[in-house]
């Protein structure tokens, strides 16, 4: 016959194993990304899924936004598993109408990027949507890399400001 402690210890072990199983299932669900995954940063605090823009010397952190002082600048985003499409929204201010491109890093070389023009040039922030096919995208440690390039920024006194980046992965 089990003593009081033995009974308690048995249920204690069940509870611990159950809790660990729950955590493990939660992690698997997060990794499978059922129904798609989306991440958003407004550059007001450190985001664990979206790292950047970087390098620091080219990007200045302001309150709730980042200022692109020189180019190119990069952003890395965690991708839990391989998705086929990424829908990206970037909100930026390019009041000097500087020619700029935003794109995703592809396989096949250091400078292999698929780039799209930044279309919005206005005194205020504008939001632009991009859709990237991720079939040929380079992935490192389950992260994909984006680049914002604008050679004109280096010589201009006017800069590009970014205050929101969001990404939604679609199967």
């Amino acid at each position: 016959m089990k003593t009081g402690f033995e009974r308690f210890f048995f249920w204690f072990k069940v509870a611990v194993v159950f809790a660990m199983a729950i955590i493990f299932c939660f992690l698997i669900v997060k990794k499978t990304g059922i129904g798609g995954v989306s991440y958003l940063t407004e550059f007001d605090e450190h985001d664990k899924y979206v790292q950047g823009f970087y390098p620091e010397g080219r990007v200045e952190q302001l309150e709730g936004m980042q200022k692109m002082n020189s180019e190119p600048i990069y952003l890395e985003v965690y991708e839990p598993k391989k998705f086929s499409t990424a829908k990206v929204q970037l909100r930026y201010k390019n009041s000097a109408k500087l020619a700029a491109k935003f794109g995703v890093k592809l396989k096949g070389g250091e400078w292999a990027f698929y780039l799209v023009d930044l279309a919005g040039a206005s005194a205020d922030f504008v939001e632009q949507s991009f859709e990237f096919n991720l079939a040929n995208t380079e992935r490192r440690n389950n992260k994909i890399k984006f680049m914002l390039a604008s050679p004109a920024v280096n010589d201009s006194t006017e800069k590009i400001y970014i205050d929101k980046f969001s990404i939604g992965y679609v199967e």
């Binding site: 611990v16 955590i23 939660f26 992690l27």
Partner: protein, 64 residues
């Protein structure tokens, strides 16, 4: 002062927690190596080190 029986029971609990924490940490670490991002974005793996040290000190105290 704790009786020998209480100490023995407490040691069993602590040892079980220590073993299960270590095993769970090992599983998460292996999955993290296989597929980066599996655990680190959601579980602080260094927490296991702190819990492990805490349990180790309890074990030492109970054995004295």
């Amino acid at each position: 002062m704790l009786s020998e029986k209480t100490k023995s029971n407490a040691l069993r609990i602590v040892n079980f927690l220590f073993a299960s924490c270590f095993l769970f940490w090992l599983i998460l670490a292996v999955f993290e190596l296989i597929t980066p991002g599996f655990a680190i974005y959601y579980v602080d793996l260094s927490l296991f080190l702190i819990v492990g040290l805490f349990l180790f000190f309890i074990t030492v105290m109970l054995k004295e």
